[in-house]
Symmetry: C2
Subunit: 340 residues, 2 copies
């Protein structure tokens, strides 16, 4: 590892010993006060004096030193996503983060772009997190889970469409989305149903269970399912629309609202009436669907509130020995509008 020059000349970094000296207390007292340890009784004036001294010197506790002393960290790792997160997931992660912070955990996001699953797990393990919440499958394999557990992670929790062996699972069962969309099309009398499969990398982990859910719903309703590969490009949508009448479909679940907007435009440009000739339904219930004409039917997805999950992470950290737990987070329902 390359070496760095000494600290710049603006003076040394203040330490807890400096704070203790200025406040006239022991280093242990400084540590108790600044780490909000409530098990030790310290008078309010002393607490105030320590905080004032820390403020005056510009001292903040050192998370790494604290974790080395304690033998474990309070760090929870939420790996940063490789894609721009949907607003739904974004809100969920921020709720989870706030909940964990209220429980006195340090929440850190760690990217893994350009690393394979095992390299990513090793990079995370170097930070010695006490808990890791990570997308299952893509980012976290059974091998990676073992690396993290051996480095001291008490709770390894996957988040995603399917559980992964050896870890707790927060499951967002995407099959539900496909099931809802397809059931709605069946209720509208459609029996020859296309399901858009985005060709973009990394989307398969969502698209495949959505297709599986559609197949299951169709099997019950005596309908045919036709997978329709599509790139998020006008040319790809125009090519699909050009062979639409050969396919003989009367309904399509377009993966999500963005792909639905793309496909519906191509179908309309090709002279295919929506919903008369083909009904179109998206998913994720974005604002844009309401702005289209016809207004786009969609599947609204809801995630469980995140605060109880922060408590769950805390419980799993405190009791690391138990069997893998599974918690289902996702619910879905069809929002009918004009396109179906």
């Amino acid at each position: 590892m390359s070496q760095l020059p000494e600290q710049p000349s603006e003076g040394p970094v203040p330490t807890s010993a400096d704070v203790a000296r200025l406040a006239g207390v022991s280093r242990a007292t400084v540590s108790y006060v600044l780490n909000n340890n409530s098990t030790v009784r310290i008078s309010d004036p002393t607490r105030r004096r320590v905080r004032e001294a820390a403020g005056e010197l510009g001292y903040v506790p050192h998370a790494a030193a604290r974790s080395l002393r304690a033998g474990h960290t309070r760090m929870v790792l939420l790996p940063a996503g490789n894609h721009p997160a949907a607003p739904l997931h974004h809100r969920f992660f921020h709720e989870l983060e706030s909940g964990l912070r209220r429980l006195d955990y340090t929440v850190v996001q760690h990217g893994s772009l350009g690393l394979d699953a095992e390299e990513a797990a090793r990079a995370w393990a170097e930070l010695r997190p006490v808990a890791v919440v990570a997308p299952g499958g893509i980012a976290l394999t059974p091998q990676g889970i073992a690396v993290l557990r051996r480095s001291g992670a008490r709770a390894v929790i996957t988040l995603g469409p399917q559980p992964v062996e050896g870890a707790h699972a927060l499951v967002m069962d995407e099959r539900e989305v496909g099931r809802c969309a397809t059931t709605h099309l069946l209720e509208r009398g459609r029996r020859r149903i296309g399901v858009v499969i985005p060709e973009e990398r990394g989307v398969g982990v969502f698209a495949e269970p959505r297709l599986a859910g559609a197949r299951r719903a169709a099997a019950g309703g005596g309908a045919r399912i036709e997978p329709l590969p599509l790139r998020y490009e006008e040319e790809s949508a125009a090519a699909l629309a050009a062979r639409w009448r050969t396919l003989g479909l009367d309904g399509v679940f377009a993966y999500n609202d963005d792909y639905a907007m793309l496909l519906m435009r191509a179908l309309q440009d090709a002279g295919i009436d929506v919903p008369g000739e083909t009904a179109v339904i998206g998913a994720e219930d974005l604002m844009l669907g309401r702005l289209l004409r016809p207004r786009l039917s969609s599947v609204r997805m809801e995630l469980a509130t995140a605060q109880p999950l922060a408590d769950l992470v805390d419980r799993l950290v405190r009791n690391p020995g138990g069997e893998p737990e599974r918690h289902d987070l996702l619910s879905a329902r069809a929002i009918p509008r004009e396109s179906t």
Copy 2:
């Protein structure tokens, strides 16, 4: 701070001493090999033996212990955004992250939702990053910059529309976007130009400089600028469209493509011809603009490539004493389509 029970029963966390014993080398050698220190000559067979022993035991180096020994960290903090990031920024951050990782830095994202700027800076300082790149203004104030520098950060770098005193600045000058959009409308002969100002929280930091850029361009072209507050809701857009003819505008820069789609739909529903009566231009050049009818004119934004910026961070870390540097990242150009 609450106490945790002892490690679970699956065995102690392997240490570098365990690796050294198994490989038959010193702990220092283990450290040199696993931290990729190239200043010490170690034979290839020894390197291989150390790596095999580490693999067998499932040992990974402890970033915190390493940084305490070295007296500094190799950690660069990229605070996680409070909003779903635009694809443009998302790609930029991931390029920056890969670039820093190639330079042997550990890149960590740290959220600050629910914290004010000074609390956020203190939370980041606890991790003792060697460098921090953070959105200026919202997340990083001169006080916060001082806290980070006192805790040992060698480079504090803001990212955003404006520089902040005391820090280096990667500037994305959003005025450029407003200037481009307005200049395009002027070229189309429009002289009474509305500028949409989203009422959503946190957007002002982008909307204000876009308005300022529009004003500056209009001043040169002898045009009038009318700020138009708008919420991202159909009702808000319908209310604005209902008083459109009273406003007497012949052109509008709608902040971005999402707001442009919302407003254009409301104008069309109110019987106002686009572009005949009012020209509409968005920004960010999203796919959806090409799917609208009329096709939406937009402003395409481009960011500088991030790899040179990773080198810049590294240089600032190595030479922490210099004057604050400013680097401009954003360029913009109008993409004319049918709506103007």
